[in-house]
């Protein structure tokens, strides 16, 4: 047991702080966009509270604006978010919590960003830590959407623009330390980056699918290569 459950909430908040910063400009813009689409403040905040998924919320707004049928909007949202299935499947073994209810509640807070922070943590994830990371991210998302609706995205232009890099910088900051330690990680990241660039660049598939397919392909190929290498070593011995 590394940490007491109650003692890990605060370190979780700290680990999630980068996400909170990164969500701020995106949620702010979402709030503004939602206003121009014609949603009320309550609907805007409710969407962030209930859906809590950046890409799908943006997409939802444009589909609502286009008068798309509710069924199609919901179906499209499902397709965009299906990659979370892969993420929580990957987290499953790391989450230290016997209660299915608590696991389910914790799952609500899993996004690309919280997943990345949690998955890069060494060892198991105590649920207190998990809730710390997801809570600060969620709070930032919901509150910033409301602020964006009320006051608009009125940051100075140069700051607004430069803050859009925040989440990518965070992903890089999470990936590089592991990359320095292992060639396998380098292969995994480089392969999926290459697949994703090809698939989206040539319009082979939409981004939601492309991320899933690229990730699975890369994870599968590297695992095959490793299994093959291991077998060969066993034979040579």
């Amino acid at each position: 047991m590394a940490e007491e459950k109650t003692g890990s909430f605060k370190p979780g908040l700290q680990a999630g702080a980068s996400i909170a910063i990164g969500y701020f400009p995106i949620a702010l813009t979402f709030g503004l966009l939602s206003k121009t689409t014609g949603l009320t403040l309550i609907e805007t905040v409710l969407m962030s509270l209930i859906v809590y998924a950046g890409a799908s919320q943006y997409m939802g707004l444009s589909l609502i604006a286009a008068g798309t049928s509710p069924f199609v909007i919901i179906l499209t949202t499902f397709v965009v978010n299906i990659r979370h299935f892969l993420m929580t499947a990957a987290l499953n073994q790391k989450v230290e919590e016997p209660s299915k209810w608590k696991r389910g509640l914790f799952a609500f807070g899993i996004t690309d960003e919280t997943f990345s922070v949690l998955a890069m943590r060494n060892g198991k994830i105590p649920l207190g830590y998990g809730f710390g990371v997801t809570f600060i991210a969620y709070a930032s998302w919901v509150v910033s959407s409301g602020i964006g609706y009320v006051i608009g995205a009125n940051l100075p232009q140069f700051l607004q623009a430069s803050m859009t890099v925040a989440l990518y910088a965070m992903f890089i900051g999470l990936l590089v330390p592991s990359l320095k330690k292992s060639v396998k990680v380098l292969f995994l990241a480089a392969l999926s980056a290459a697949f994703n660039s090809i698939f989206t660049g040539y319009g082979v598939m939409e981004e939601g699918w492309s991320i899933i397919v690229s990730t699975l392909l890369s994870a599968f190929l590297v695992e095959m290569a490793e299994t093959y290498k291991r077998k060969k070593q066993v034979k040579e011995k």
Binding site: A17, E43, M47, V51, S56, Q57, G60, P70, I74, L75, T77, N81, R83, F85, M87, T88, A89, A90, L91, N92, Q93, P98, R103, G104, F106, A107, F108, S116, A119, F158, A161, S162, T164, V165, A166, Y168, A169, M170, F171, I172, G173, L174, L175, P177, S178, V185, L188, A189, L191, S192, A193, S197, T200, G201, E207, I211, S214, L216, A219, T227
Partner: protein
């Protein structure tokens, strides 16, 4: 009930289900080692796909993403904490977009 509210609730449900099901259903299940290996690879692979190529497309000026990603890689490589990487990249890009 109003349609937008209906849409929001529907979107919420289809977003929550893929998040929740693996954590609840796969609990205490042992998967075949090969599949387990693939899942262990997922975090690193997904980070690659989340960063590229989109980091180059965040602003119309492609240099913007290059400078941002470059700063982040450099800071992370010398061992800076994630939050420093994030703030550093924002700072350098603020300076860049303030100038040009």
């Amino acid at each position: 009930m109003n349609t937008i509210l209906l849409v929001i609730i529907g979107m919420g449900i289809v977003t929550f289900l893929p998040r929740m099901l693996p954590l609840v259903l796969l609990q205490n299940k042992t998967l075949p080692p090969f599949l387990e290996g693939i899942l262990k690879n997922v975090p690193y692979a997904i980070l690659g796909a989340l960063i590229f190529p989109k980091v180059f497309l965040i602003q119309k000026d492609p240099l913007f993403g290059v400078i941002g990603a470059g700063t982040a890689i450099l800071l992370a490589f010398i061992g800076a904490n994630v939050i420093i990487v994030v703030l550093g990249a924002i700072a350098v890009l603020s300076f860049y977009s303030f100038l040009f």
